[in-house]
Symmetry: C2
Subunit: 216 residues, 2 copies
DNA sequence: GTCTATATCCTGATAGAC
DNA sequence: GTCTATCAGGATATAGAC
């Protein structure tokens, strides 16, 4: 009746939009396929199930995104002479995700979805995300470890974890920022990208904690 | 058959445990009430519905938690002479939530649940959380604004938003930290609290961004 | 006052129509 | 190859048993 390629993309578009808006668990196949004008069960022909559709959603966007991050990491490492700054490493990790989000609806939708999925999902999803992200995260952590030699394993891990949390939260609960700053109706995602780089770089660069400095 | 007070608390305990472990949308009343040995529909007698039960869950813990934050803010403001440091303000906001979590399962469970709920939920839940948190967040932002006079409205709002995101993410996806730092089996939540205070204080204190300093 | 039997709707998935 | 009719079970909620 219509081209399968188009149909698949239409389904993924609708799914991404609804997952971002309502959450993963709250969005039924019925709703998604209804938006495309198909029977709920069509999902099984095109993808195999709800979980497999999520996998397709990830692959469609995460491949290019993580490839871009790797390219930027490469560029930082091969730049002769200057060792990369913490801010430039953070920029290479954050901007491929947040710059498209700042440019338009589509990029933002995907990040909102990933953020929600990350929180909602159980072990299986966690493992899936880990498989996808591990190479790029490990590279990121290695670069940071060289730029911040005083930061030991667990400290660096927590701080990277905070950065990731801040990044996703910035997308998924963006509306909170409007009332946080006293009712500015529309906040800028480009601004968020810049502030996050500044915030996270400074946070990562904070002095390492030693037993003696711990506060109550 | 048994005391209603006990039953209510048993239901809330089971709900909190399951919400934290599996997520809000993924946890059915069937499952929760089954753990307590009751029919799923008993929820309607005790609370009125799933949403009202969530409200009760929040009230049980958030009241004391936010009251403690307010007490700490008061203590900072009335301390004669010294204006409070950024780190001490951040500590007053974070520690009442994270110190109980570090001390035991129960405190951690609640934070995991709130973090997941915050991400999963739509407008209604967002509004509910806003009503509960607005006074304490506004106080927090005001204190920070005085300690960081160079940080204007939207910049401060984004950075506080990052802090909140980092805080919840640190709880909800804690297992990720283990592999981030190369497989340390058990990471310390007390360590997370200390690192988060250092990370967020430094991030908030990063120089304000002006148009001229923006990077690609 | 405390809880259960039951109803209704909605979920994702199997099997089969075109 | 593409999609739909239908299914079995799970979701919350109403009405009523004890």
């Amino acid at each position: 009746m219509r081209d399968a390629r188009d149909t698949k993309d239409q389904i993924l578009d609708a799914a991404e939009r609804l997952f971002a808006a309502e959450g993963f668990g709250a969005t039924s196949l019925r709703r998604i396929l209804g938006d495309v004008g198909l029977n709920p069960a069509a999902i099984h022909y095109h993808f195999g199930g709800k979980d497999e559709m999520v996998e397709a959603l990830f692959e469609r966007r995460l491949g290019p995104l993580n490839a871009e991050r790797m390219r930027r990491f490469d560029a930082l490492e091969t730049r002769a002479g200057a060792a990369p700054t913490v801010a430039s490493i953070v920029d290479a990790f954050i901007s491929p995700a947040l710059a498209p989000a700042a440019r338009g609806e589509e990029g933002e939708r995907f990040l909102r979805f990933v953020g929600r999925y990350l929180q909602e999902s159980g072990e299986a999803a966690s493992a899936r995300l880990r498989r996808t992200f591990e190479p790029v995260i490990r590279r990121f952590v290695d670069l940071l470890a060289r730029a911040l030699p005083e930061l030991r394993g667990e400290a660096l891990a927590w701080r990277v974890h905070f950065l990731v949390g801040a990044m996703f939260h910035s997308m998924t609960c963006r509306e909170h920022v409007s009332w946080l700053c006293g009712g500015v109706p529309s906040v800028s995602l480009e601004r968020a990208r810049e502030e996050l780089i500044a915030f996270a770089s400074a946070g990562l660069s904070a002095p390492a904690l030693h037993a003696a400095e711990l506060r109550s």
